[in-house]
């Protein structure tokens, strides 16, 4: 696929596949890597919840700053963190874009006779920042903690088995989903010559979507067998990587609880 649609699909799937793959960052000696996975999980869940309930731009920016500090302390390259976290907020910004003109407020600018309001702009900016910060926090967890350790921590924290199962399967299948798409695009590219225009690109994309659906279902079945062959029909029970909690673990969780409480108070008061 040589068209714009093909190139875009290729770059997006490459980036998304990377998001779901733990790499060497998890083996680095950083702040979050040294934490007990239970502490990391509780802290990130608390911070993400705090980001979700906030409706203030300044508070959201503070959470963004906290995420960046955690990334620096954990030796996570910021460029990689941005690359992994950018797709979801951009997609969600696209979804809420109509709010720019739908929300009533003071007109900032008129485009083709349609007024963009200040309330609309702040809504879209705040929404995108909140999603971006939340996704960055989750990416940070995935990048600094092996996924099996996250699943084991959930089991130890007594998260319901059904929920852990759903998360574990979804995560693995998302990873395989993007892997399959990447392979399909690669196979098509290897047999495509010349350049196709926008119309040709869309035609290719339609064909690709149909083939991809069938291949994804087939691969899902085969991987399901691969899981069952090694005990996948039983509840997820990866080896834990927990150790005795230290004062930094407690400090991290306490910080998350405090920010969650602060966020609650800022939004709803005492």
């Amino acid at each position: 696929m040589t068209g714009l649609v093909g190139r875009s699909a290729e770059s997006i799937t490459g980036a998304l596949r990377g998001v779901f793959a733990a790499e060497r960052v998890a083996a680095a000696d950083g702040f979050l890597q040294r934490r007990d996975p239970r502490a990391t999980l509780c802290a990130v869940a608390g911070l993400a919840l705090a980001v979700m309930i906030t409706r203030t731009l300044a508070v959201t920016l503070c959470f963004g700053l906290v995420t960046l500090v955690l990334a620096r302390l954990s030796k996570v390259p910021l460029r990689r963190l941005f690359a992994r976290s950018a797709v979801v907020p951009l997609a969600s910004a696209f979804v809420v874009l109509p709010q720019l003109v739908l929300l009533p407020g003071e007109t900032l600018v008129e485009v083709l006779g349609v007024a963009v309001t200040d309330a609309g702009v702040s809504y879209v900016v705040l929404f995108t920042l909140r999603v971006g910060t939340g996704v960055a926090l989750l990416s940070l967890t995935v990048m600094t903690t092996p996924f099996s350790a996250v699943v084991a921590a959930m089991r130890e924290l007594r998260v319901p088995v059904a929920l852990v199962w759903v998360i574990a399967i979804t995560y693995r299948y998302l990873f395989l989903f993007f892997d399959e798409l990447q392979r399909l695009i690669l196979a098509r590219n290897s047999r495509t010559t010349g350049r196709s225009g926008v119309r040709g690109g869309w035609r290719d994309a339609r064909r690709l979507a149909g083939t991809f659906l069938l291949r994804a279902i087939d691969r899902g079945e085969r991987v399901g067998r691969g899981m069952r062959a090694r005990g996948g029909a039983r509840a997820p029970s990866p080896y834990g990587r927990t150790r005795a909690l230290d004062r930094y673990d407690y400090a991290l969780v306490a910080f998350a609880v405090a920010t969650l409480a602060g966020s609650w108070v800022i939004r709803w008061g005492l």
Partner: protein
């Protein structure tokens, strides 16, 4: 000891009407080394999945260890390696994939660590443990998949083309691991050349998915016309010596052929 796997008239039909496995009745004894050979599309992989309890047979039953027909009840004793390593490596790092079977099947952590360490040594996986499987080469994926099935130390190995894209050095290592395995080994392969090195019994699957021959390695692999009739080329040494020496004297491996020629030349 008794049979570890017994199938009675199993048939598997895919939704499109293709019958991949047809009325297969066989028994595999504990500690046996068996090779299931057949041309591409003969239904070997489907037979492996049916024997491993990973697809439901349309008809017939499979009994495990003479005690149950439920494969999930004995999953920790059955090591089923699928044909494509990409279907087998679904975790985010190779280490997580190697730990997946042992942890799911209840092997204690320390025992699993020791076993994974030994397998990583033998299959040259140490530098790959923290890498995502999709970044590995074909041969590396195959080695990781073989290590993943051996990691939980199953009694019975059902291996579908375990050599894949592996180079000669690691092919030898995989053969050694299969030889060292103390339990039962069932190898599914379209390549008769490798069979004499690992098996003592051969089951030949015909193009219609049924068993057309079941006998000793010598009986089946020296029957050149039978193999050709079912789309297979006999092992190279058999091709070389067929018609020149008695069927019972045909060397089945390169080392046996060297010995034979050495004796004859002297």
């Amino acid at each position: 000891m008794g049979p570890v796997i017994e199938s009675h008239g199993i048939t598997h039909e895919y939704p499109d009407g293709t019958t991949a496995v047809r009325d297969v009745t066989l028994s595999i004894e504990a500690g046996e080394r068996v090779a299931v050979i057949g041309a591409n599309g003969s239904g070997k992989s489907t037979l492996q999945l049916a024997l491993g309890g990973l697809v439901d047979a349309s008809a017939g039953t499979v009994t495990y260890f003479g005690e149950t027909t439920d494969a999930e009840a004995v999953r920790d004793r059955l090591g089923v390696l699928l044909q494509d390593p990409d279907d087998y490596l679904f975790n985010t790092t190779v280490r997580e994939d190697l730990e997946y079977g042992p942890s799911q099947l209840g092997m204690p952590r320390q025992a699993a660590d020791r076993r994974i360490e030994r397998l990583a040594d033998r299959l040259g996986l140490h530098g790959l443990l923290d890498r995502p499987p999709f970044r590995l080469s074909g041969g590396e994926k195959q080695r990781a998949a073989v290590a993943s099935v051996l990691a939980f130390d199953p009694d019975v190995l059902l291996l579908d083309e375990p050599f894949g894209a592996v180079d000669d050095r690691y092919r030898e290592r995989i053969l050694e691991l299969m030889t060292d395995h103390e339990g039962t080994v069932v190898l599914f392969t379209p390549s008769p050349d490798v069979v004499p090195e690992v098996a003592e019994r051969v089951i030949l699957v015909g193009q219609n998915g049924s068993v057309v021959a079941d006998g000793s390695v010598r009986e089946v692999l020296t029957d050149v016309s039978l193999l050709r009739e079912h789309g297979l080329r006999p092992p190279k040494t058999v091709q070389l010596f067929d018609g020149i020496v008695e069927r019972e004297a045909v060397p089945l491996t390169v080392s046996a052929a060297r010995e034979f020629l050495g004796r004859e030349v002297r």
